[in-house]
């Protein structure tokens, strides 16, 4: 029985590694914007080549992809999320901007709080901020992706 349980645990772990592991290992850079108010915030991430990934340019030449785009249409209650991801990010300086274009008909929500998470190769940084309606803050956060380590090549 204990052998069977061990076996089952190893099978489950193996499946997890097979399915989740490689995906997680590829996720070298993710920038995630989270907020709770029922409005539409937009996330902008500018790569070291100065191309910006955002809702109107959801795929960049450097591999940036807007994975999650929160919208007014069809939004559900609770946490809202926008996420941009590079699987093999270029080293260099990245710039994060946040915009508040649409209140989704909620005239009362003219200033909302958000949380920003930047995860580079497993290391996470977080910060919070406030976005004002029809005002874009192009520089809420800047960070650097280091060149690949020698032992990782």
């Amino acid at each position: 029985m204990r052998v069977a349980a061990h076996l089952a645990a190893w099978v489950v772990l193996g499946l997890l590694l097979a399915v989740v592991g490689p995906a997680a290992a590829r996720a070298d850079l993710t920038v995630t914007l989270r907020w709770d108010a029922p409005v539409d915030l937009d996330l902008y991430v500018t790569d070291p080549a100065l191309e910006t990934a955002y809702f109107a340019n959801p795929r960049t030449a450097s591999g940036g992809v807007l994975e999650r785009d929160a919208r007014c249409a069809g939004h559900t209650a609770g946490e809202q999320v926008e996420r941009i991801r590079w699987t093999t990010p270029r080293p260099g300086r990245y710039r994060v901007g946040v915009d508040f274009l649409e209140a989704c008909g909620k005239a009362s929500d003219r200033e909302v709080s958000y949380r920003l998470e930047v995860e580079v190769d497993g290391r996470r940084e977080e910060q919070t901020g406030r976005a004002r309606l029809v005002e874009r803050d192009p520089r809420v956060f800047e960070f650097t992706v280091p060149p690949p380590r020698e032992d990782a090549r």
Binding site: A49, A56, G97, E102, E135, P138
Partner: protein, 583 residues
């Protein structure tokens, strides 16, 4: 810096090699049957120099490059209706490489449509708008930063995404009326639907005509300057042979030496200007921009110094190439120094686009003047006067620029030029007018144009004023002596699909050169014969805003599509067209 350094070093080495022993690249372009592909654009890109040279295949399909620096080239052959063909060519010093290139016909209608320039796609969208007024507004407001209908903009979006795009563009000044905003999503989605563009552009494929015998003797050289974050707005040729250009989104002045390929970058002082300059609350800048002062237009003075308008910083800059020093002149009255020209006394005249003014600075005396231009209505006048209050108010309350779309439009003084008699002439883009300012009395006379959106205008040597009609797709000549206009439709098909941003007149010949801003072309107009010659440019999404000439008679322009990542190859460029290179 590394890239710039390597270009500089590569340029010097290559020039030394060229001076010693250039290489020669010749060949023929043919199709599968062996027939010549007339008018094919053959482009050799020198990788180390970040510079491309393009010649056109002649009536026999033959092409001949001018002497080229030895090195590794990417050779690309392009002609609408055929698949691009690209090869690597190593050109050794003193060698002659003969490269016969065969190209295959493209048969996929979707791919054929995709090859066509943006103006063809723009025409599909324009045709779906309800009336002429809506079409005019769309062309004027939605094509002044970037091509409309390029690969990056011919995109279907859901209504919410279009709404957000319109809101973003309104921040940049592209403010639409509610009725055009309402009509556009369906028009754009319909035009950019495969069910629409494949039959219209692919199955009934009509390639742009090949260059005629005159045009096919030309050589186009493109130097990559700046980067993906750049907006290479205007350029000016210096009498010493250098070419200066300004980067509106990165606050840079560039200097290219076409003889060596050397590129220098000068940081324009920002002083205490915040990001976005005096418009910091609205921030009418792209998200990847580092625009604090935003250089816009530039001209070389007789003493060899360079004057530059800083539109967001609300200043002028004066650059001395000998000392490499900038002097900055804040604009005390008015907003958005735009296009500038110098008069015969060395005075700097420029439009103030947002505050509906023309201004003058006399470097010799330090005198400065501003002139408020007439508005069409009291509402327009009120809107102009209210702008500074809105800028102030924007610090404290949410101001959505889209709300201005149904109100009176700002007249937007745009192009400016000095007549041979010293009169200062300007256009008011949104008011569809031109005007004359008497520099001595200050008297102002405005004239309605019989076409929409007069943009960057220029005088010829005989005192005729030449004007591009941006949203009307026309070239116009105005004779100030008789007050008569004469207009010509630009020869880009379909008619009316071109949005000429600027023109210039080579006063040595009075030949008029016009930006083919939507069609990746430059156009030459000979006033004596009233004949147009079209020069296809090699890079897709070549958005041009200014033209200048060098001492040898070559024509210069820059590719300033914003954002630059929409440009093929994602590199802004300075472009030279030599008329009789290979022929």
């Amino acid at each position: 810096m590394k890239l710039l350094g390597s270009i500089l070093l590569g340029g010097l080495l290559a020039v030394r090699a060229l001076a010693a022993d250039p290489g020669h690249l010749v060949g023929r372009v043919s199709d599968a049957a062996g027939d010549p592909v007339v008018g094919a654009l053959v482009t050799a890109r020198h990788l180390a120099l970040a510079r491309s040279t393009t010649v056109y295949a002649d009536a026999a399909g033959g092409y001949t490059f001018p002497p080229l620096e030895p090195g590794l080239y990417h050779l690309r052959v392009r002609r609408s209706g055929f698949r691009d063909r690209t090869e690597a060519v190593e050109l050794a010093a003193g060698a002659t490489v003969e490269e016969a290139v065969g190209v295959e016909r493209e048969t996929d209608p979707r791919e054929l449509a995709w090859q066509l320039p943006a103006n063809r796609w723009l025409a599909l969208a324009v045709a779906r708008l309800p009336d002429d007024a809506a079409r005019e507004e769309f062309r004027r407001q939605c094509t002044f930063c970037h091509q409309q209908g390029s690969w990056a903009t011919r995109v279907q979006r859901d209504p919410e995404e279009w709404r957000k795009i319109f809101a973003l563009m309104a921040r940049m000044g592209g403010v639409l009326s509610t009725r055009v905003r309402t009509a556009l999503p369906e028009a754009l989605n319909g035009a950019y639907d495969e069910a629409s563009f494949v039959p219209a552009l692919g199955e009934r494929f009509t390639p742009p005509p090949p260059p005629d015998a005159t045009a096919s003797a030309a050589i186009v050289t493109e130097w990559e300057v700046g980067d993906v974050g750049s907006m290479q707005h205007d350029l000016a040729v210096h009498p010493d042979g250098h070419v200066y250009s300004v980067d509106t989104t990165q606050d840079k002045l560039y200097r290219l030496d076409p003889r060596t390929g050397e590129r220098r970058t000068f940081d324009i002082p920002r002083g205490d200007s915040p990001l976005g300059g005096v418009f910091t609350t609205q921030r009418p800048i792209p998200v990847n921009a580092d625009a604090y002062v935003a250089p816009h237009s530039l001209q070389v003075a007789r003493d060899g110094t360079v004057w530059i308008t800083l539109c967001l910083g609300n200043k002028l800059a004066h650059f001395d190439p000998r000392t490499e020093h900038f002097d900055i002149y804040p604009q005390q009255e008015g907003l958005y120094p735009h296009t500038l020209r110098l008069d015969g006394r060395g005075r700097v005249w420029y439009t103030l686009a947002v505050s509906n003014q023309v201004a003058m600075l006399d470097p010799a005396t330090g005198e400065r003047r501003t002139y408020l231009l007439p508005a069409r209505t009291w509402k327009e006048s009120l809107a102009v006067r209210a702008v500074p209050w809105f800028l102030w108010l924007g610090r404290y309350v949410d101001l959505d620029p889209q709300r201005a779309g149904d109100g009176p439009e700002l007249p937007v003084p745009y192009g400016i030029d000095i007549a041979p008699d010293g009169g200062v002439w300007f256009s008011q883009l949104n008011a569809h007018r031109i005007g004359r300012l008497d520099p001595e009395s200050g008297d102002i006379r405005v004239i309605d144009t019989p076409f929409s959106a007069p943009r960057r205008l220029r005088f010829d040597s005989r005192g005729n004023l030449w004007i591009p009609g941006f949203s009307s797709g026309v070239l116009a000549r105005f004779d100030p002596r008789t007050g008569e206009f004469h207009t010509w439709e630009l020869p880009i098909e379909p008619r009316g699909s071109e949005t000429p941003y600027a023109l210039n007149v080579d006063r040595r010949t009075d030949t008029v050169w016009i930006c083919g801003t939507e069609s990746d072309t430059l156009m030459r107009f000979d006033p004596a014969t009233e004949h147009f010659t079209i020069y296809p440019l090699p890079t897709r999404v070549t958005y041009t805003r200014e033209i200048d000439f060098d001492a040898q008679g070559a024509i210069w322009t820059s590719n300033s599509n914003l954002p630059a990542w929409q440009i093929e190859g994602a590199a802004p460029k300075l472009i030279r067209l030599e008329l009789h290179g290979a022929g």
